[in-house]
Symmetry: none
Subunit: 309 residues, 2 copies
DNA sequence: CGAGATACTTGCCAAAGTCAAATAATTATT
DNA sequence: AATAATTATTTGACTTTGGCAAGTATCTCG
């Protein structure tokens, strides 16, 4: 089943690649009317959008053969499109930058490409262009170079779809990592439903950790008694792990709980959730009770943790 | 402002094009290790996936220069990869088909491309490959010729995470398309929770429409009274629209309802959900009651539909 | 039938791109 | 500090790719 799935996915991706190869080919055909080859145009683009690049950087960025690139650069130089300033710190390299003439040549190219895309978008029914852009953004984010410094997550309040995401990610994550069955997802859905239908905004809240609009983590603080708050549904998606997001979420909860005048925060977790337990411990929670139980299709040891505020 | 908007969209598309040009370039580099050029590989692909093509058809499909294509075909012929059978109805054309050797060469190419994509997908975190496929499907549908056959969806039972997906997609879709507020997502979560916690597998069921592991649609049939079943939570994601999925889901429900011995199916919907109403109508449901109400932050007209079994 | 269109072929050629070796500067190692 | 290894770029020699235009044979339509 997983094999079949991934084979289907692979052929879906390959089909898209063939499809988009064709699309790009059509868009690139207008280059035949310009004095530039596709590679030259790409180099020109890099020069126009980066300050003082060296040939090396362009080569890495575009994956071009150094020899070929060298000739393209020379050619640009001979035609007065760029200037080459020796780099003081490394005299093997040059700083390449466009001349006025070069910028003009780029502008012309840029405009024609702009118009081509505009024409393509214009054929789409109203609303479809937004969907298109959205889908492209998803692909770019998913396949883009794993940015050296991960994009910062922000903690925000609920938006439509968030609660469903909380249910879904709890359901699928706990199923794949700990073998929990669907009853767990049902429990989360119940908590989610109860929260949405009747939460007291002044004393209860949830936070979603968000990276570029994608949810990567969640936490809830709800009323248990007038004096005691309960922390629930802490989760950090694999995509957001390793940047202390869990800690940030818990800290946010604790701060909010204190601000609301609760005297204590309590939470229920399982002994197998080692990463979460560490976070609670580091945030000043202590384990006050432990009790084996059978739930979600597994034999578990439930733990109650508390922290005075 | 529309101008500004569309300029932003245009540059988003162009940025994606540059990005994907690069991606494809990387994937195509493995072709350097094969005896085929990109164009040759594309021709080979067409030959392997079409029966008895003529050169003309391939040329149109791939946008290749006829002269160049002719030489590629000749070259394939000389190397024993294809046979050329004169077409009786038009002696200018040949029917091209792969020989065993040709199929073998293609299989090798195909496998290497398959493995490349598999490797790429393998680097994605859990769940991201489904998102990727979904986004690609959207682009292909929006930009593709109307005849692009969508990948077939299968209807299956619940898996972990599915119920959360149902909540999420209802929440975000109805928010963006009709302005519903969070209380709607809460209602869906409640229905979902109730279903998971206590559904009678012999008389209640839910189906998920699945394309390559990504959810694109849902429907539920639950007990209302002993004789009457209730249809709920019909949804088709934009990525799965336009292939009659809604109809298939409803038909599945009706068949199951009949098989369970219900005498009637009832459902509640809103007048603004035009697409859904058409589906119900075509499936033999009739509207039996209508009632204005204020819910989910909107003024709506609720409708009750029924169908005898 | 004849005029055009169509499917392909052929010759010619320039551009695009690869590969390996050379050069000059930098960095690492002993 | 001298030597070795690495890096950024250049150059020469080459192949491949693919565009263009002028053919040839066949088909289609009036």
């Amino acid at each position: 089943m997983p094999q079949q799935d991934s084979d289907g996915q692979i052929s879906a991706v390959r089909s898209f690649n063939r499809f988009y190869t064709r699309k790009l080919g059509v868009l690139d055909q207008q280059l035949l009317k310009t004095p530039f080859s596709l590679s030259e145009a790409r180099v020109l683009y890099e020069l126009a959008n980066g300050e003082n690049l060296a040939a090396k950087e362009i080569g890495i960025e575009l994956g071009l053969d150094p020899g070929y690139l060298s000739r393209i650069v020379q050619n640009f130089d001979e035609n007065g499109l760029i200037t080459r300033k020796p780099l003081p710190s490394d005299r093997r390299q040059y700083q390449l930058s466009l001349t006025a003439k070069g910028r003009q040549a780029f502008a012309k190219l840029d405009r024609s490409s702009h118009d081509d895309v505009a024409a393509m978008l214009a054929t789409l029914p109203r609303g479809d262009s937004e969907r298109l852009i959205g889908a492209m953004a998803v692909i770019e984010r998913l396949l883009g170079a794993p940015s050296v410094s991960p994009r910062p997550a922000i903690l925000r309040g609920l938006r439509p779809g968030d609660m469903g995401w909380v249910v879904q990610s709890h359901g699928s994550l706990y199923a794949s990592e700990y073998g929990f069955d669907s009853s767990f997802e049902g429990l989360v859905a119940e908590i989610a439903a109860k929260f949405l239908s009747s939460y007291d905004a002044s004393r209860e809240r949830c936070w979603i950790a968000d990276v570029d609009g994608a949810q990567v983590g969640s936490i809830f603080l709800v009323r248990h008694t007038d004096d005691v708050a309960k922390l629930r549904l802490l989760l950090v998606d694999p995509a957001g792990r390793g940047q202390g997001l869990g800690r940030r979420l818990v800290a946010e909860c604790v701060a909010f709980g204190r601000q609301c005048g609760y005297r204590k925060i309590t939470l229920w977790t399982q002994s197998i959730l080692v990463a979460a337990r560490r976070i609670y411990q580091d945030a000043g929670f202590v384990q006050v009770a432990t009790e084996p139980h059978r739930s979600f299709g597994q034999s578990l040891i439930g733990e109650t943790w508390e922290r005075e505020l």
